[in-house]
């Protein structure tokens, strides 16, 4: 059986072979398997050296000091640590946190938990293009606001928020600023030596590193304090206890180093591929790109094929692996909350497909996707009563549906 073509790089990426090769040197008896915290013997020193090197590699990609990197199990943990860490440490200073409705669940559910603990959370609406209106943020900040948490790049629609402008506003109002950069590191230039950001979450597996590995950037100057969420041996300067997973850390470091070397060429290549993909669809009837097309990472195309349900389209195009905002692809039976927050109708949200392009995507993959999707959309529209009604000039928003 031939496997489908992978076009879901925003969900996860394969580990780069160069990364995997390096990781394997830190596992077995003939490798550097030691505990980096064992500071009294050779094995510990070797592992500690590898961790130090990885810390430098990660810091280098984002313009940070290696001492500002805290290893975690992934971006979800980093988001939890940043948001709960600030809320708990500074609880005497205020009780209000501001975030965006299109954030990842790792941020939104963390905020929900803080609401249960008594904090006030404001969930801002994005503009129709997915971007945050600075005036909306400005109006939401109060003297009780502790933290603003806004993602750099959205995982579904790929739009890039202006974190410099948001950060400057936060500085002006003396509010901490956390950024979830799981989808942006290695794709968009990040320089924390100049960006006004206090905390930033990273993931390894979104940029060809291993799953189960992440980091949180915690600014040193001016110093940002967070309360630990996992307690134990006092690793990571007390901010995150737990024996460091040397092989995972080395993998993340290597992945970040490769990204630093190859990012600009890769972005240019992705943009050509993405534009080719979009050009293959744009002349079709009733298609719509979701989210701003200019302020967007080059590897993402989120597009709705109206009157076709996303899950059945994914079934039809099962020789390529993509994602959909359709309810039927989630356990909740709700269509994508991100697309709903942009003001999309439920049916357009149900009809959306996210293509995400990555390191191993070829021009032939793109051409295959175009032919396949065009053919299947036509087939499913022939099967769709909504398409018939649209063609007959019926305004679907005026029809009284028997909702179930």
């Amino acid at each position: 059986m031939s496997v489908p073509t992978y076009m879901d790089y925003s969900a996860t990426t394969p580990v780069d072979k160069r990364v995997a090769k390096k990781m394997m040197q830190y596992l077995t008896m003939d490798g550097d398997f030691g505990n980096p915290a064992s500071n009294s013997h050779y094995y510990g020193w070797q592992a500690d050296e590898a961790v130090k090197n990885a810390r430098k590699q990660v810091a280098s990609l984002i313009g940070a000091d290696p001492r500002e990197i805290v290893w975690t199990s992934g971006a979800t943990e980093s988001d939890n640590l940043a948001i709960k860490g600030i809320a708990h440490f500074y609880k005497k200073k205020g009780n209000h946190i501001i975030t965006l409705k299109t954030e990842h669940k790792a941020v939104l559910d963390t905020c929900r938990q803080l609401e249960r603990e008594g904090y006030e959370i404001t969930y801002l609406d994005p503009m129709a293009n997915g971007l945050l209106d600075l005036n909306v943020l400005k109006a939401a900040i109060t003297d009780q606001t502790l933290l603003v948490s806004i993602m750099h790049v959205n995982n579904e629609i790929g739009v890039i928020q202006d974190i410099e402008a948001i950060g400057n506003l936060c500085r002006e109002r003396k509010v901490f600023f956390h950024v979830d950069a799981a989808q942006s590191a290695g794709k968009v230039a990040i320089d924390l030596s100049t960006l006004p950001v206090d905390l930033m979450s990273f993931s390894a597996h979104k940029i060809y590193g291993p799953k189960g590995m992440g980091a949180l950037y915690v600014r040193r100057k001016p110093r940002v304090r967070i309360e630990a969420q996992i307690h134990g041996g006092g690793h990571e300067r007390g901010m995150r206890s737990g024996t460091l997973a040397t092989h995972q850390i080395v993998g993340m470091g290597e992945a970040f180093a490769i990204a630093e070397a190859e990012m600009s060429d890769e972005s240019a290549r992705f943009k050509i591929l993405r534009d080719r993909l979009l050009a293959g669809f744009i002349d079709m009837e009733e298609v719509q790109v979701n989210g701003d097309l200019d302020q967007r990472i080059p590897g993402n195309l989120n597009i709705s094929f109206n009157y076709v349900e996303g899950e059945s389209l994914m079934m039809a195009i099962n020789t390529i692996a993509v994602s959909s905002g359709s309810a039927c692809t989630s356990a909740s039976l709700e269509p994508s909350y991100v697309l709903r927050a942009l003001g999309l109708s439920d049916e357009l949200a149900h009809s959306s497909i996210r293509f995400s392009i990555g390191r191993y995507t070829t021009e032939a993959d793109i051409d295959k996707a175009i032919v396949l999707v065009r053919d299947k959309v036509e087939k499913l529209r022939d099967l769709s009563p909504l398409w018939d009604m649209f063609k007959d000039g019926v305004d679907l928003s005026k029809v009284e549906w028997a909702a179930h």
């Binding site: 009157y307 076709v308 349900e309 899950e311 059945s312 079934m315 359709s326 309810a327 039927c328 692809t329 356990a331 039976l333 269509p335 109708s345 439920d346 049916e347 149900h350 022939d382 099967l383 769709s384 009563p385 909504l386 398409w387 018939d388 679907l396 549906w401 028997a402 909702a403 179930h404």
Partner: protein, 125 residues
């Protein structure tokens, strides 16, 4: 979602896709579901002078299970009287297609569709 063979068969080769004249006296149309919920089924049946369903057509917007449920239904109702067709239960459809629990609502929708089509034809009599 990993589907069973029967769903895939109906999904890839849907039976009786099409449209009947909804204004004809011997045609009943049932349209159920809502675009906002992600599935809309339109089922049409045509009855001959003996009261037997001689033709059935459908179009469905929805997931693979919704398409398969309506496709199967058109096969089942043909040759039945209206009273017999009204006896079809969603559980029969779900069982035949081996629908997973999260997709049971697709078979419910199919049962609603045949009931609505029968009501429509009766209202014309």
């Amino acid at each position: 979602m990993a589907y069973g063979e029967k769903v895939l068969d109906h999904y890839e080769n849907p039976r009786n896709v099409g449209v009947l004249d909804k204004d004809a006296k011997n045609v009943g149309t049932g349209m159920v579901g809502a675009p906002a919920c992600g599935d809309v089924m339109r089922l049409q049946i045509q009855v001959n002078d003996e009261g037997i369903i001689e033709e059935a057509k459908f179009k469905t917007y929805g997931c693979g299970s919704a398409i398969a449920s309506s496709s199967l239904l058109t096969e089942w109702v043909k040759g039945k009287t209206l009273a017999e067709a009204a006896e079809i239960k969603n559980t029969d459809i779900a069982e035949e297609l081996a629908l997973p629990p999260v997709k049971i609502h697709c078979s419910v929708l199919a049962e609603d569709a045949i009931k609505a089509a029968i009501n429509d034809i009766k209202s014309k009599a």
